[in-house]
Amino acid sequence: MRKDQEIGIAEKLICYHCGEECSDDEIRIGEKLFCCNGCKTVYELLDANDLCTYYNLDENPGLSQKNDIKKNFDFLEDPELKEKLIDFTDGKITTVTFSIPQVHCSSCIWILENLYKMDSGIIHSEANFLKKIVSVKFDEEKTNLKNVVILLDSIGYEPDLNLAEKEFEKSAVINKKLWYKIGVAGFCAGNIMLFSFPEYLSLNDLTTDNIKPVFSYLNILFSLPVFFYSASDYFVSAYKGLKKKIVNVDVPISLGIIVLFFRSLFEIFTQTGAGYLDSMTALVFFLIVGKMFQNKTYAALNFERNYKSYFPIAVTIIKNKIETTKPVEKLMVGDRIVIKNGELIPADAILINGSAFIDYSFVTGESNPIEKVNGDLIYAGGRQVGGAIEIETVKEVSQSYLTRLWNNKVFEKEDESKIDAFVNVVSKYFTFVVISIASFAAIYWFPIDSSLAFNALTAVLIIACPCALALSTPFTLGSSMRIFGRNKFYLKSTHIIEKLSSITSIVFDKTGTITETKNAHVNFQGDDLSDYEKKLVKSLVRNSSHPLSKSIFELFESAELLTINNYQEIPGQGITAEIDGNQIQIGSKTYVLENSNNDENNLSTKVYLSINESVKGFFTIGNSYRPKLKEVISSLQDHYKLSVLSGDNDGEKETLLQFFTNRTKMLFKQTPYDKLAFIENLQNKNAKVLMIGDGLNDAGALKRSNVGISIAEDINNFSPACDGILDADSFNKLDTFIKFSKTSKNIIILSFIISFLYNIVGLSFAVQGSLSPVISAILMPLSSISVVVFSTLTTNMIAKKRGLL
């Protein structure tokens, strides 16, 4: 430990809890340093409960407590809300599942599963690392929901409480059904294959002749669950398609399965043959395997978030000077709400009391707080920075400026119809051709031999069953989706890849999408600062957690920091302190230059600096564009129509023109509705639009577009409803992704050709009425497997070639 510390002094002081750099070694327990009191408190709490194993499992596993705002969880006492949040209760024992996005290492799992050591009321808790959830079982007599949440919050794992989140359980149920079906189909297919062995080997001695019929009846028995249970999805989907007069790929599949099944029954009962039950069950098994492969989901990501997941589930309201909590959905016009530091404004409201600095970064992507005075209208979605304010709602939550966007018809639940999927287009013609060939063969044979006509008819339908056709899509797209996932581009489902391959137009949001939110670009304008002065500035901003302070901190390179006195931070205005006898102020113009008016129209935000009451100049904080933006844009420019939509004013237009050409349409001061309308307008001109955005203000456009991709610097953070989430680090690969989606489509077409070749061979047997079960049992799995192998291998090989693997 001693050795560690020596290195620590020479290089950096690392917080024992969260691993962040410490500004000094003031906060410490023994030899353990902490970056802030929050971290220290968590350590003390864990230490007191003998839970320090937490620190042995992973190095510095904790979560930084610097920006943590202790919240009021009183609303969890509301019985109605409680009922919605918990999974189950019998009055004594309650189970509840929390979503905890902060889970990131094995220490997290350990501490979350040892909660019972800190609260004796907790009976059991179990974490799921991939889904980032923890389910807690507790005794209502010893503790309650509120205490459990407070406990989690106190150790840095604040649960993400909202009512919309429960959706993920539904997909888990569907997934489980698929597991059952795959098990049943695999089991039956395997057994039927074993029982078909005498048939394959054409054993014709006396004993096998006795056994064969028994085996055949056993086969029927085993095929029943496959036909009626495992394959049922295909029948339902085909029926639904036909009802809408759409011939989807499930129609020929169902036709094949049904004909296989009934012809086999007929053969076995009339003892004219052994049937094709082995082929049928194997086919169903393969199909479900394909479905499973396609069903890859990113458990921890949520693609369906709407504004409800952003907003708190309850707010503090004041009625007759008494503070109570109320669920957000019950908020009415005229309610007085208290908004504390860091809380979101749930509905459009008028400021009544307090000094409001509203950070609209959720809504517009702009992170600099805007000052509001009493009587001003504050829009929903803003976050208060600073002290508590009192506001009076003027609109209901669902009718507020921002949230009204969700009343737009694009947000109505549409069922994911895959009508436009390429395979369904092909299958329409395919079905038609197969049925024509089948009837032609039947008509040809009928005058010669009526039983042969029946044989040929059914054989054509059997062999033409587009198993390979149906498998090529899930395996190609499933592999592509995994490849994208490895490159931090996460898609909601595989058919997004097909949509992505056919886009013609790309629309970018500006703030947060093509600019970085992490590293704002800082410049200093004014007097030249001496090294000593730079040191002063750096020491001062070190203490503030404001994003602008962090940017300024990065601007100057100076390792040594000075100790500061009388530090004061006025949220939304500025910071001040005394360092080495010098008085330093950094902040807004009104804060630093005391008697100036604030109506200066500044295009980029200015932060003023004064040392010993003399103004040295100001920092400008401009947008910093994503690295490699130029390369990405220039490679996309020739193939797609590009547009940029921005919620900001056109101050950055000149800079944007360095990246985009004049052909790019640039629109500024766009409201969320304008963005939605812009996409709609493009689509009316027959464009297939890819929208790339980030904030809630893009939600409508993301939803409306053919493919909506949201960019996130931290994928576990909130992102609005979208089709895919792209990690900001992979933004430079955007072009590669789109190209690869096109390649995937070509691979599917190639697989189709392969499967057609098999079909031609099979059909040549079938039209002659001479399809034996052995040929079918070899040909059908062979075609399926070769298509699967081909599509998976080619997809991965090409990905490797393009540097995606």
């Binding site: 194993t53 799921n128 098990g183």
Partner: protein, 56 residues
């Protein structure tokens, strides 16, 4: 040779037992989380009064 029918019956019974075991394992959620248990198994059982462990 008729013993083969007994054997078939028996082997099918065993096979169906395995299918039932599989369905049971899905039902009880053993496939829900295939990552966390791999970490959980590495956690040591705590022995109380162990204080010198912290320094490594």
């Amino acid at each position: 040779m008729s013993v083969i029918f007994v054997l078939i019956g028996f082997s099918s019974f065993v096979a169906i037992m395995f299918l039932a075991a599989y369905i049971w394992s899905v039902k009880t959620g053993q496939y829900d989380d295939n990552y966390t248990p791999s970490i959980r198994i590495l956690f040591d059982n705590e022995v109380k009064k162990e204080t010198s462990k912290k320094n490594s």
